[in-house]
Subunit: 364 residues, 2 copies
Amino acid sequence: MPERVHIIGTGLIGTSLAIALTQHTVEVTLADASPTTAALAADLSGGEVADGLAADIVVVATPPDVTAAVVAAALARHPEATVTDVASVKGVVRAELAAAGAPGLGRYVGGHPMAGRERSGAISARGDLFEGRPWVVAAVADTEPDAVALVKGMAEAVGSVVTLLDPGEHDEAVAAVSHVPQIAASLVAARLADLPDTAVALAGQGVRDVTRIAASDPQLWTQILAGNAPAVARVLRAIATDLSGLITALEALGPEPTGAVVAPGARAALAGAIQAGNAGHARIPGKHGAAPTAYAKVVVLISDRPGQLGRLFQDVADAGINLEELVLEHSLGAQFGLLELSVLPGVEAELRTELTRKGWRLHA
Amino acid sequence: MPERVHIIGTGLIGTSLAIALTQHTVEVTLADASPTTAALAADLSGGEVADGLAADIVVVATPPDVTAAVVAAALARHPEATVTDVASVKGVVRAELAAAGAPGLGRYVGGHPMAGRERSGAISARGDLFEGRPWVVAAVADTEPDAVALVKGMAEAVGSVVTLLDPGEHDEAVAAVSHVPQIAASLVAARLADLPDTAVALAGQGVRDVTRIAASDPQLWTQILAGNAPAVARVLRAIATDLSGLITALEALGPEPTGAVVAPGARAALAGAIQAGNAGHARIPGKHGAAPTAYAKVVVLISDRPGQLGRLFQDVADAGINLEELVLEHSLGAQFGLLELSVLPGVEAELRTELTRKGWRLHA
């Protein structure tokens, strides 16, 4: 746990970190290319706009395209301090530092707090931004162990769950779990643009889920994808190969009547793709990083009147049952919704009995 | 509204329809290739296993690969009745009927109730399966108007929202809003299969949403995709072209240092793909089929103890505020969750004030 932290760059992440650290009585100093922004961040966080030359940790929280240059300058200006950053891609920052021959690289520890908001800037900062979120600490063989421990301590102090990965592992991981899903959502959503209204009116929960993140900010995502181009391209090439196989299979099936026994290999290719998706889906951890659990689902019809949800969750609580996940489904044209409650399989029957007894209509 | 309905095929859809119709005092007769299954459906629904020769409507609810043959037989056997089906692809059924020269085609009205469950079979049937769900009625120029009206009346009687589309429009629509999203989810999920545990542990809400439907049944989806092969292939080819452009752009960017000004066209290609996704995403209707609304989001920290959700929703109801959408987010390793409440923008400030006053911790 550091005593003094100097934060360079007072946008959403830098200012949120400043707020969280001052709440833990860490002495925070701030710097930003814009004096006005730095002053706002100081007001919001209780930190001080200053050089921070006595800092234990310097956190570079600038936009990604200047991260490496600012880290190099910080290593030179703060010769005793640990320097870390918050850029969402780690290999490219380290490569640029190495190429520039930056001194004191053993004191640099890559970092990636996986927290964010739809809004940006100091004004949107929150002291609890990092709570319960992963914070990747990306060290390499010659990174000083004390520096790693200090960054880890800081991340945990603000509520993050720290994962140690090397920079390459980190970039491969976020390509698959973050960058490629974003691209898939955008490509599927783009196909909806030219559909007639009657067609998009058929959109159900499936396409809504798949395309939810397609509403993301193009400028931010261009920086993120460009910074991790090789790893993202690698995953996308694998997907393009799978996709090409599916298109070939569908073309082999062609406009055949139902039930025609043609191209059995083509049907196997379709089934294989869905099965491979099953296997990958099963890898995603359940709530709180626990092992994946197949939750039992109970769907309840909820009218649109205020108070229905409160009464329902009170009834669930009275039954002593904890909810693992919940999703409120849209209902096209109907004045009610379907609320899907996920619970541990062992309490499903009890939940159904209790809710039915209390007069709720269960749907599935 | 029909007075007598004969249902052929007593799986999930057929039996659910039987239950719903008998609740509306429609006289229901049932048939199935399996006498045991038909008897079970009769017990569950109050319908009768019989020929149903006096039926106004015959509903063919068999598996998709025998739908056209059973429809043709029903048109011959019930020379006065309207015949409809429930297959999830419409063009191929009609093409096969036309190719076979089935008589009485003017009395055939294609149908697609867009309702389902994760479980199948009569035993999983529910009378409210169709409530609030789209039911596509797919007629063509020489379909008898009375037949269309009868099927529409039946679908509305069981709570569905009817959309009239021609078979080709229907198949193009479900390719884009259902079949292609399924494939995208499966392909993205498949890429997670070989990741190390530390990498999948970084999975956030984005990839969870994109891949949720990747858990779907391979056998069912093989039938669905094979039955709509040309339309699905058409959308997938467009996506493959977009994907190929993105891969080229990412490869042009290469492993360049951050901030390097290379391949500006490549960055524009990335931004363009995300922007196209924004445009498509904006087409998806909001709750209840209304025009899309940009809801305001309020995120509340919820502890894992039973009763928290009940208390929260009671507080929301006491404030007289209605929730439009809600999502419970996972929090890696933390013993609490983040509940995202979506409300109309005009009541966001009031909701924030009320929840803060009641002691809730708002996150974003």
